[in-house]
């Protein structure tokens, strides 16, 4: 006769976190396992980062070769921004010694989802040392007062 041990709450929580880690890993791989170079649109997806502070969200984007006066940051909706910049010169694969792909790129472009509620119309943008910095104030959420 087989004996089945009842799973403890600990086991269930552990399993939940293991599954969650696997899911995050798969999600991350899906995000990363695609080329940053889009031949059809002639665009390169730049590296970016998001920092959430208690008062604002800071998005930074690395824009090598970006022509400063062509940088455009456009809200797509309440939580997504589109970033686009023309490059000072066209970049071809063979600039990097790559001969098995063909294509040239003249634009850096990406879309970023903001993970918390923000006042997107109040964003401030600056460009320093090739890094685009977008600061967006967070919307004030009402906290629960201590009774």
């Amino acid at each position: 006769m087989s004996t089945r041990r009842r799973r403890s709450a600990f086991d269930i929580v552990n399993e939940y976190f293991r599954d969650l880690e696997k899911w995050i890993e798969r999600f991350r791989e899906e995000l990363i396992e695609k080329p940053r170079w889009n031949n059809r649109a002639c665009t390169i997806e730049p590296l970016r980062d998001i920092i959430v502070t208690p008062t604002e969200v800071i998005v930074t984007v690395d824009l090598p070769y970006a022509e400063e006066n062509t940088i455009r940051v456009k809200p797509m909706d309440k939580e997504t921004i589109d970033i686009l910049a023309r490059m000072k010169r066209k970049i071809r694969f063979d600039d990097f010694g790559i001969t098995h792909y063909k294509g040239e790129f003249e634009t850096l472009q990406c879309q970023t989802r903001i993970p918390v509620r923000v006042s997107i119309d109040k964003m401030k943008v600056r460009f320093e040392k090739g890094i685009l910095e977008i600061r967006i104030p967070r919307r004030r959420e009402r906290g629960t007062p201590i009774e």
């Binding site: 940053r36 930074t60 690395d62 090739g130 890094i131």
Partner: protein
């Protein structure tokens, strides 16, 4: 040497060299510095790593296959460099094998080149370079050369293994860390690090071309940076921002 990791020598290795390490980490500072050293000092490939712990990956240069982790050398310098992010699961045996190999070649000093991330890096005008050493004598030498010492904090990644293993096997080692971006390739930080390397070891290298080609390097290195971010996250790299509890 670990049986899982073999180092295949292609040329005779002279003794008493300074062995440098440039591995993917924050800002790719070590890799960018290594790449510049190879071209500036005209370093040739002298050995490479062969291991089933590495992913099934080769790097093609001029149509020929190369290991992703190679050792270059010339003029009393050995330089271990990786052209791909090394996974957190395999970094220990790989680093140990390289350090043990260097010790077998009577390397006189090991120098790990990397970065230390700073917030709002884009607003910093003059980047600072810090150092840590594997023993008190080497640390004193670092101080005498005027290099700022990273006295308290956490170190995560290949340089942490260099420090720990070199301390264990009593090989003098220094880690140089230039202030840099966490997630973006940082050629300017690599240039500052190389200036401090010249000060510390006497290895002379002109960084003007590195600075001129900054934008090209940032674009070229962005795929490697993206993959390195993934491995840094697995290594809990952000722990370097933490304040350690004092245990003497």
């Amino acid at each position: 040497m670990s049986e899982e990791v073999r180092i295949i020598e292609k040329k005779e290795i002279p003794p008493d060299a300074v062995m440098l390490f440039g591995f993917p980490d924050v800002g790719l500072v070590g890799v960018i510095a290594a790449s510049h050293l190879i071209s500036e000092l005209d370093l040739a490939e002298v050995a490479y790593v062969d291991s089933r712990l590495l992913p099934p990956l080769i790097v093609l240069h001029k149509g020929l296959p190369h290991s992703s982790i190679r050792i270059f050398g010339n003029h009393g310098v050995l330089l271990a460099v990786s052209e791909t992010a090394i996974s957190a699961d395999t970094i220990y045996p790989i680093m140990h094998a390289l350090i043990d190999w260097g010790r077998g070649k009577d390397v006189e000093l090991m120098v790990s080149m990397s970065g230390i991330p700073v917030q709002d890096r884009q607003n910093i005008k003059k980047l600072e370079v810090f150092a840590a050493a594997s023993n008190p004598v080497t640390l004193e030498t670092v101080r005498d050369k005027g290099v700022k010492v990273l006295s308290e904090g956490y170190m995560v990644g290949p340089q942490a293994i260099v420090m720990q293993h070199c301390a264990n096997i009593e090989v003098p080692a220094v880690t140089l860390l230039a202030q840099c971006f966490f997630k973006y390739p940082d050629p300017e930080a690599a240039a500052e690090l190389l200036k401090e390397l010249t000060n510390l070891s006497g290895i002379k290298v002109d960084v003007s071309e590195l600075l001129e080609k900054g934008e090209e390097i940032r674009l070229r290195a962005s795929d490697m940076m993206r993959r390195t971010q993934q491995e840094m996250s697995k290594m809990k790299k952000t722990q370097e921002y933490d304040i350690p509890i004092y245990v003497s």
